[in-house]
Symmetry: C2
Subunit: 312 residues, 2 copies
């Protein structure tokens, strides 16, 4: 049996079964008195994550941003970022400074900094980022806790990355490259949400809304109904982009209806749009309501090992 037969999520399950100290959440946590330390790592590489034409500086920003996004999903304040780079010896040395500037720009934009890392030789440009954060333990927003009746909310708009990918498949396009790679992690929104202690379950959307809902369904043992006409679509984006394409890095969370007003208020205060897109239901099924009727949300989105080559 090969990895391409089992896919990324099954691969993670196998290893998590050995470690038994791994929680399937956006970040690992370490108790720290009244606080909790958050640690996360996201590895990206040229072939899977960067379309042709992506600049070194964009790669630097993106690598830091996707790691900070995992902290945002839990409501953490960033403490620092590490970057370990695997680079081919034939790479132009200008890559280093440009990449570092992109990484530095992103880290400083979110009040943190790149504090260390490693550099090694690899055949393929491989960028392994790691972010550390801290927050009050009682404010931590885990992936679990969703309860039937909760409203399902997403920040910002969805589909921008999917639309950008479509544009790039039809030729190089600088605006699309920026849409795809200039990820803006929802750090302020995550911290504001966490401070309310009203959120039941939260994660960042990296592989598409449908894939994220299936992950929440699994760890919470619940289901979801989402409404096509409540989806906050980015300009040009279709429902297909919003549901099934990765790369948007917005926050997905559930709140009890009585807390919705408070949550909307704190998000407005940090300038973050939010939309209610559905509800948590008791039965473990994922439903998409359209004008034409209700159908099952498809279980797809980007998955490593299985989807390689499909996207870029």
């Amino acid at each position: 049996m090969k990895l391409s037969d089992i896919g990324e999520r099954r691969a993670i399950d196998i290893m998590a079964g050995v470690y038994d100290t791994v929680t399937l959440d956006d970040c690992a946590t370490i108790a720290d008195g009244d606080n909790v330390l958050l640690v996360t790592s996201d590895m990206v590489n040229e072939t899977s994550h960067f379309p042709r034409g992506a600049s070194s500086r964009q790669m630097g920003w993106f690598t830091v941003a996707v790691n900070l996004s995992d902290l945002a999903g839990k409501g953490g304040r960033p403490l620092g970022v590490l970057l370990s780079l695997g680079l081919p010896g034939s790479l132009d040395a200008d890559f280093l400074e440009d990449f570092a500037m992109g990484a530095h720009d992103c880290a400083t934009a979110y009040d943190t900094s790149v504090i260390g890392g490693d550099t090694k030789e690899m055949h393929e440009v491989t960028l392994c980022g790691m972010a550390l954060g801290r927050m009050r333990r009682d404010a931590y927003m885990s992936r679990t806790g969703a309860a039937p009746g909760d409203l399902v909310c997403v920040t910002g708009t969805l589909g921008r990355a999917g639309w950008a990918l479509d544009c790039l498949r039809n030729g190089s396009d600088n605006a699309a490259l920026r849409d795809l790679l200039h990820v803006e992690p929802r750090i302020d929104a995550g911290r504001a949400l966490a401070a309310t202690q009203a959120v039941h379950a939260s994660m960042d959307i990296s592989d598409g809304l449908a894939a994220s809902l299936y992950q929440l369904s699994r760890v919470n043992g619940c289901g979801f109904t989402v409404d096509a006409d409540r989806m906050p679509l980015s300009s040009h984006a279709t429902l297909e982009h919003a549901l099934y394409d990765g790369g948007d890095y917005e926050l997905l969370f559930t709140v009890p209806p009585e807390a919705h007003e408070q949550v909307a208020g704190v998000l407005q205060a940090v300038g973050c749009p939010v939309s209610v897109v559905g509800e948590v239901i008791e039965t473990r099924e994922l439903l998409l309501r359209r004008d034409s009727g209700t159908e099952t949300l498809e279980h797809r989105g980007y998955e490593h090992f299985i989807d390689r080559g499909k996207t870029l």
Copy 2:
């Protein structure tokens, strides 16, 4: 200019110049009240780090061990390990469980655990480990602080990895694979040393003693004299292995002569051998004393981008 023209250490300098928050030490640090958090990352890959015949389980142990070794060099207590894996889709899925068991064995042997990570698809098996640690701030052993007159000490013996590599170049050999990959990070020794607050400068030796001394020379603006006949060689190992081959992961540190007895005592208490191999000198030169006379220690050891393909 390509990376292969400038080498790993110049590459790190270029990026550190952009970040300005990176200290060239084994770990990055984050202030934490009276304590300091340590974070480190070491990325290894199949081509550069693992000889043919290395098992998945050995790779798991090694990836965790080399990261813990960076904590050991500073005197930190491990809090947790993250592992981000880049794996080809064609890899046998058995790799996952075997690798995870090796990683778990090493983590638990040092009273810590694997708490998270990431899994992505890559052409080459790429293993990015990260370790977190914590210690009292005033006990932290940095790479700087070496003063002329200090004794230069190393733990354990040197040359085991270099000898093992030589054996492997002459054919597969299970004992040699174990010697090379079953790295035992000096966590207890590092913590005992740190507690004395007597150590002036400390690091782990990953690229050979000579390369490590050149790194200490640079950050401390001092030089070293080491004695060939005081080198604690592993069985079969030559002076060449000890000085110029990477992979031993012992600790290298300097102490003022008056603290030597105390330091030797605490290391004995944790069962860690230690040898004085030379002294810190004021002039920025690295000298090797042999029976036949004194010569300059060569500035070589494993360096990525430049040395690829030379070792395994």
